[in-house]
Structure formats: C-alpha cells, structure tokens
Subunit: 149 residues, 2 copies
Amino acid sequence: MSNKTIEDIENRIASLLKRSDLSVTESRRKILHLFLEQPGALAHGDIERKAGEKFDRVTVYRTLQAFVDKGIIHTIPTADNSIRYALCKDDCSAGHHHDHHVHFVCSICNNTYCLDDVVTPEIKLPKGYHAEQVEVVVEGVCKNCKGRE
Amino acid sequence: MSNKTIEDIENRIASLLKRSDLSVTESRRKILHLFLEQPGALAHGDIERKAGEKFDRVTVYRTLQAFVDKGIIHTIPTADNSIRYALCKDDCSAGHHHDHHVHFVCSICNNTYCLDDVVTPEIKLPKGYHAEQVEVVVEGVCKNCKGRE
DNA sequence: GTAAAAAGGCAACATAGTTGCAAAATATTC
DNA sequence: GAATATTTTGCAACTATGTTGCCTTTTTAC
Ligand SMILES: [Mn+2]
Ligand SMILES: [Mn+2]
Ligand SMILES: [Zn+2]
Ligand SMILES: [Zn+2]
C-alpha cells in the first residue's frame, strides 16, 4: 500500500520532468521530491544538505536553474539576501512565470511561505515609471510560531 | 564660491557622523559623500569601485554596516540577490528604521531608486500570520530610460 | 600633547556561484 | 535490447562575496 504511494509520487515526478522537456535523472527526481514533500520554500543550502551530500554543488545549481527556466519552481527574494525556491502552483511554463502572490518569511522559524491566495497589490508609481513586476515580501510571525514566541 | 559649497557638504557630512556617534574618518566621509552626490542606491561593488580602490574591502563592509546600524542608510533587497544601499531620508535612527516606501529597480539601466512618496500598502494576510515588515520592490522601466529602450 | 578608544589594513578563512571539459547517465534509433 | 547520439554530471579551477582576529594607525577625550 505504502509502496503504491511512493510509486505514485515517483510517477508524478517523472511525468512533470518529461512534460518540461527535462530528462529524468536521479538528482532532478531527488530535488523535486524535496520540494513536493514539504510546504515551505527551500534555500540552496537546505537542498544541498537534505539531498544528503549525494550530489555535487554544481549539479544543484544547475538543477535549480533548469527548474526555474522551465517554470517548475520560482525564486523568492528575501531581505537577508538569500534566495529561496518554491514550487510554482500550476500556470507557470517555460519562459513565463505567473506568480503574483505575496511571500512570507517568519522571523522566528525562518521558514518562507508562498501565500498563494494573497495577490500582489497594484502599486501607483510616480509619473514616468513603468512597472513590469511587483515583488512583495512580508516579514513577521507565522501561523505555527504564533503563541510560542 | 565653489569651495564654499564643498566645505558645506563636508561640514554636513561631519555633523551627520557626529550626530550618529561615529568618529569622523576618511573612509566614512568618502562613502557618505558618494551617497549624497547621487540620487539612486549603491551596491557594495559600486562603492568599492567609486571609492577608487582607496579603501580595503573590509573597511567598506564595516562602514556600510555601521551606517545601517546607525540609521544613516537602509538596505534594499532585489530579485537578483544583490543588496543595494540608500540614504535614509530623515526619521531613521540607531536601531530603528522607518523606511516604509517602495523601491524600484530599472530593468534597463539597472539603477535602484527609493520612491520615498510611495508608501508600502497594507497586506491582508491569512489568519494566523502576523506582519512586522513589508518590503515591496517593483521592477520595470525608470523615468530616464523610458523612450530610449 | 598624551592616553584611551575606535577604526583601518592585512591575512586568512568561509561561503556562494560560474565555467570548461571529460566521464557517466539518459534518450533515441534501429 | 544493443549501439549511438544527446544530456547531464562531477571535478577542478576560478571569481566574487562576506567574515574574523590581530596588530597598526587614526581619532577622540582630557
Ligand atoms: Mn511563491
Ligand atoms: Mn529606500
Ligand atoms: Zn515561523
Ligand atoms: Zn533606468
């Protein structure tokens, strides 16, 4: 039974990679697995560690870059200058990201979350400026950390 | 006449440093000068270059850190993970920044601007999340680059 | 001017990220 | 399913970024 589930996930991973024109390799499967099995965002370092030092640093960089290029994950800028990565929900594809949601960084547990339901607001700019993309990062205390500060 | 102006600026710089409990040193004067003489934000690299390789890298790092700590400059996170620094307008002091404005990064000239008059919007978060700070970075085409794309 | 305090420069180190190239793994074709 | 063509990986080497300890120099306070 449990085996069935694991197989399911692996199939899902493989088909996602194929759909994105990426060959199915061990590192890509492993890293995609990391993203699927947890809710928050991952930093490059997290991935290197969680992958169990099984892959070269360069491979992790290249894998993440490939995933971003193909619209599988998106980057999240943070105030402390450490890029996080998170799964794109659905409508992103190669060359075009459509992630217009707000990101949240918890100052206690340091986890980063995509708030998929909170859309980035319109920003009224001074004359002459033309907006192409708006990034909103909120820092504060997350659901889980509330109360146990 | 022109000498008078230069002297004025130097006096302004010195008093700003003293008010912030920072001793007046050559590197601090020089770096503060760089911020005062141009409108946009500066990256660490810009400063190293513009200071004319006169100061050690470490000094630049420590100077910028001191300025941030004292509320003289603030950091601006960007999507490409390179921190920019810009002057705080007035009401920031040691330990407490009050920069609630939107930042703008031009995708053509790559300059970063503080839009001091554009305040960061309220973000309605899902239940359980508590916001402490909101960072908004808009990417697009700036005033100067508009037209000559 | 002198002494105390602060800041700067240097060396050494740590982490992050990139590139070229040969070896290995994956996909394609028969 | 084996042979071949294509991709991807790992390694080495390199650049960039950022930090720390320690001694010297500069600044400040008296
Ligand atoms: Mn997201
Ligand atoms: Mn600003
Ligand atoms: Zn938390
Ligand atoms: Zn511009």
